[in-house]
């Protein structure tokens, strides 16, 4: 009974806000529709802006994939019985969770070489790939904490109980422990993905051609106040339309997975 009431209350919480969000969007659309010149300029620049946003998504997906791989390893290391394994992982997580993303992007951009030599071949190491590493570092530190929390949230007695009903260690992990860990870890992991996606805008400050950089290009090329405002609003709208559904879905999953 209570489970049926929960989603309804969640939706009601956003109730009047939908109207306000729609009002903001309608105001912006109306402005561009009424001003034909502005609409034409925006449409002209739209493909350029879109190519920028594709870069944001590429960086975020790669950074999150690398961060997740490294983070799962680090999270497991944090729970190791050996201090020798545990200590470096704990230190890494501590340092890079406290480090500003912008500083890490600067670090990887300026410290990594602009090309790497693999078996005598010079391979270019472009700035956008360095930004991927710059964001993968904090992502891995956060994933490590998420993984550690998820594993610790499953009481160890469940291992014993599973053994009691005759399950092997592998079976216990596959059917008892991992499903619960995934439920705990998925919502914060999605939040982290949205957060990393928003941080990709920082790459514009080291010259990566992404959405914010494209918007600055467009605004300096057109040099008109109304266009500058409109183009930055477009950037805000693009990130919002990408991240808002993720955050809504996250909240829905949180409610569904909440321990009752």
């Amino acid at each position: 009974m209570s489970t049926a009431a929960l989603p309804a209350r969640g939706r009601a919480a956003l109730g009047p806000a939908w109207a306000w969000l729609a009002l903001v969007a309608a105001g912006f659309l109306l402005w561009t529709v009424l001003d034909a010149r502005l609409a034409r300029d925006l449409l002209d620049w739209l493909p350029y802006l879109a190519s920028g946003f594709a870069m944001n998504i590429l960086i975020s997906v790669l950074a999150m994939s690398a961060g997740t791989l490294a983070g799962v390893t680090l999270g497991a290391m944090e729970l190791s019985a050996s201090r020798l394994v545990r200590a470096p992982a704990v230190a890494y997580v501590q340092v890079f969770r406290n480090a500003p993303h912008l500083v890490l992007i600067f670090a990887t951009t300026y410290i990594f070489p602009f090309e790497i030599v693999v078996a005598g071949n010079y391979l270019p190491f472009p700035d956008w790939l360095k930004a991927v590493f710059g964001l993968a570092i904090p992502a891995s530190a956060y994933v490590a904490e998420i993984v550690r929390g998820a594993i610790q949230s499953v009481p160890t007695t469940q291992w014993d109980a599973a053994k009691g009903v005759g399950m092997s260690r592998g079976q216990t992990l596959r059917w008892i422990i991992l499903p619960q860990c995934l439920r705990r870890a998925l919502p914060p992991w999605m939040n982290l993905y949205a957060s990393i996606t928003m941080s990709t805008a920082l790459a514009s400050l080291v010259g990566v051609h992404e959405l914010l950089h494209a918007a600055t290009d467009a605004s300096t090329a057109v040099r008109r106040d109304d266009f500058t405002i409109a183009v930055y609003l477009t950037v805000l709208a693009a990130f919002f339309l990408f991240c808002f559904p993720i955050s809504r879905l996250t909240r829905r999953l949180e409610r569904r997975f909440a321990p009752r």
Binding site: A19, L205, V235, C243
Partner: protein, 247 residues
């Protein structure tokens, strides 16, 4: 004596291949130290702003009045789901420009880049505080609120004396976490040439190509601020703890 210590440090660091030579040049060190001061000032101004605005937003969200909760909820969603750097660019290049126009030229505009960094980062984190506090306010048992109303408290008094004090306690860990993020966010000030520690460091490493050396100091600096912040948070949490309430 300090001079001697710095010289020894530079020599020792040089031994292991780290170049801190700039520490011996006053014209480079001074703006760099000033940059650390600017970061601290940004943090000290943005934290109270974020807390005050966060409480106000949380009060609006839980007021039960759609005309008040609606726009604030929309603001919170917009802020949480767009990059802070883009918000800062929008505020500085669009809003600030409009303000300059309205006031008759940039010379008459009292709003500096420094102001915009404090305002944008503070109000951005306020949205996160508001969510944490709202959760805390809604977690206060309904019977307690009804009792307060029954003995004659107005809605504001219920918030001021009953729900908010309890919500502050449950939301403390989340608020400290948000403040740590706020400290890290102030680095975006370098995008609009606010001379905080990142910006000051960029000025040095473009001349000397000693990124790694400065990076170590920056990470230690932020690690230090955030450790102090967490300690203060933990102390306040302990002091405020109500025995038997919450977990």
């Amino acid at each position: 004596m300090i001079d001697q210590a710095v010289r020894t440090f530079v020599a020792l660091a040089g031994e292991v291949g780290l170049h801190y030579d700039f520490l011996l040049s006053p014209s480079e060190v001074r703006p760099w130290i000033a940059g650390m001061g600017t970061t601290l000032l940004l943090v000290l101004l943005a934290i109270p702003l974020s807390l005050a605005a966060g409480v106000a937003f949380a009060a609006a969200l839980t007021s039960g009045r759609p005309w008040l909760a609606g726009p604030v909820r929309a603001y919170v969603e917009l802020t949480r789901n767009t990059p802070t750097l883009v918000q800062l660019m929008f505020a500085f290049f669009a809003l600030n420009m409009l303000l300059s126009k309205a006031l008759g030229g940039a010379a008459n505009n009292p709003f500096t880049p420094f102001f915009w960094v404090v305002a944008v980062t503070g109000l951005h984190i306020a949205a996160f505080h508001a969510e944490a506090l709202r959760g805390g306010i809604e977690a206060v048992p309904a019977a307690m609120v009804e009792t307060a109303h029954a003995i004659g408290f107005s809605s504001f008094e219920v918030l001021r004396y009953v729900t908010l004090p309890l919500a502050l306690r449950t939301a403390m860990p989340a608020i400290v976490n948000n403040l740590v993020n706020l400290v890290k966010l102030t680095t975006i000030g370098s995008a609009i040439a606010v001379g905080e520690v990142t910006y000051a460091s960029i000025m040095i490493w473009t001349q000397r190509d000693n990124v790694l050396e400065l990076m170590i100091v920056i990470l230690l600096f932020f690690g230090f601020i955030n450790t102090v912040l967490s300690q203060i948070g933990r102390y306040v949490e302990r002091r405020l703890a109500v025995p038997g309430y919450g977990v």
